[in-house]
Subunit: 343 residues, 2 copies
């Protein structure tokens, strides 16, 4: 069965044409995937048959208040792309623009999945040898224990169905590993997750090296700090290695000889290979590649979105939450919309 992915081509650093080329590469590699591309038709290259273009030059990717921009600009490419998912012309969404706008437009167009309190932003952290899925990476700065419980099940379902981790180990990010550690929030979530298959308790920031878990659950504030700390540390260390490799003539020679092998390392750590962030908890799958990606990263993002549809991540997440008794019982007035905080 063919899967159709709606792609917002606006907002990427390299421009809409780069996103379009990523879409072209993917539909040529996988004939089961079709793309409807929303962007400025005048700026797009000629594209293969599997990519349909809808002219949508208006972008709200740089707007400071995404929720307001979504309501104000019905013609924005992200609003039209989500509209296509909402009315069944497409099955999933990919946006190269702002995460905040993708989330706000998604909440507006397709809503949260049944029984979900809050959508979360999940990112595969490409740690060498043992990548892990981190969520929430920034959609919800403040959460309640029942939100963390849902993040755990949402992340486990995605890791199993899309990332191919057979029995994901799920952990709570904390300041220690003993059950007595953590804030009141972490402790309450820990108690509620005790019976979840694969739940391994609390892990620390060290896990980037240790590989203690496949799914790492955090509130969006702490998860965001962790993600950016990893990026900052990685840059600092690779920068320092680079200066070391030019500090003397023999070090320079060593650096040159080592360069091909370090190229391998760089691609292990390369976030493009993972396709970017995933919005979990909406009625339809959505992937948000980083704005800095090249066509290769956008192609991966579209592939990930398509496989989330094929593997019915939304349905399986619902079934897991139902089995765990962790679905939201009834709508609460205060929960009318998730807080939208960009990363």
């Amino acid at each position: 069965m063919a899967v159709t992915v709606a792609v917002d081509a606006n907002g990427a650093d390299l421009g809409p044409a780069e996103v379009a080329r990523g879409a072209a590469e993917l539909v040529e590699a996988d004939p089961d995937v079709r793309v409807v591309l929303f962007g400025p038709a005048a700026e797009l290259p000629s594209l293969p048959a599997g990519v349909e273009v809808v002219d949508a030059p208006v972008s709200i990717a740089k707007e400071a208040d995404p929720a307001r921009a979504v309501r104000a600009r019905k013609d924005a490419s992200i609003v039209q792309a989500w509209g296509a998912v909402a009315d069944g012309r497409a099955d999933a969404l990919v946006s190269g623009g702002s995460t905040g706008a993708a989330l706000a437009a998604g909440l507006f167009a397709v809503k949260r999945a049944r029984g979900i309190y809050r959508p979360a932003l999940a990112i595969v952290v490409p740690a060498p040898d043992h990548p892990f899925l981190l969520l929430d990476a920034g959609a919800n700065a403040e959460v309640r224990p029942e939100h963390l419980v849902q993040f755990a099940h949402m992340g486990a379902a995605y890791a199993r169905e899309v990332l191919g981790v057979t029995a994901p180990r799920v952990a709570l990010l904390s300041n220690g590993t003993e059950p007595s550690k953590g804030t009141a929030l972490v402790q309450a979530a820990q108690a509620a997750l005790a019976d979840m298959p694969g739940f391994v308790g609390q892990v620390e920031g060290f896990t980037v090296h240790g590989g203690d878990c496949d799914v790492l659950v955090a509130d969006g504030f702490t998860g965001n700090v962790m993600l950016k700390t990893m990026e900052g540390t990685l840059k600092a260390v690779l920068g320092a290695v680079r200066s070391a490799a030019t500090s003397s003539l023999s070090a320079k020679a060593g650096g040159l000889l080592l360069r091909p092998a370090l190229g391998g390392l760089r691609s292990d750590l390369d976030p493009e290979l993972q396709g970017g962030a995933v919005l979990l908890g909406l009625r339809r799958p959505a992937v948000v590649p980083h704005g800095s990606f090249t066509r290769r990263g956008f192609a991966t993002a579209i592939a990930r979105a398509a496989s989330a549809v094929e593997r019915d991540v939304v349905g399986r997440t619902h079934a897991a939450l139902e089995a765990a008794g962790a679905l939201r019982r009834a709508p609460e007035p205060s929960e009318a919309g998730a807080t939208v905080r960009g990363t």
Copy 2:
């Protein structure tokens, strides 16, 4: 004027003799510093005149409940060492054992400094080119805005007086840089710090690379996650560089040529050079080196503690808090003791 530092020799991974050798090195290098060393006299080497030994073989460094152990074992080396500070035989404390025990015993023996809500654990993060002081790194998992405000002033005073940063830039760790970002806690602290000299607002985890601040303020949960994420990422990257350097014959040759320069990098990043964590907010300065340190790290820790005394960090912190109107007004019953959470 000579400064005397009480040193608990128990709890270090390399044993009390290694701590003693660090003390010996330091008093030989700096005749203005004297050490009173609390540890198992039978296990210690012969020491120079500046190091006095008090036989204290009992260690509570491995106890799970430090506060209880401190009350139960008056003969423990950390309790005796803090006792020497409390009764004026020494001016500051260094412990190679557990941070939790050092904090619990310090609260018991010398109490919090006047007007301080909670002591905090501060660590110099040895980021290449621009180290910064991170606090709280784990003493207080949950805090209020007024605690973060005090951490900011405590950290700025230490950075200025002991680390030699002339005009420290102070930031709040957050999930964004705009003033609208952060949790309610971060936003309240931001408003209260608006007039602090050197306050630069919110920074993200990226700051490990960017060098946006000299003092980074966080609650102890987030600070602890950040610290351990840096350590985990550093280990993962250096491990990956090491495997890259042995992946082929030419890469191996490159690795060998590069090794001396990478040795320089390792020492830039070496936490021993910073002397370990500092407990700020007690009536007397205290430094807690990492248990894994060698004599060199312990010598640095003792030097840091002595310079905190010489520069009157406790008094200057009080003056800064008073000028900012950020001293605790009156004791509250719920604030009888800081939460002791080890790192």
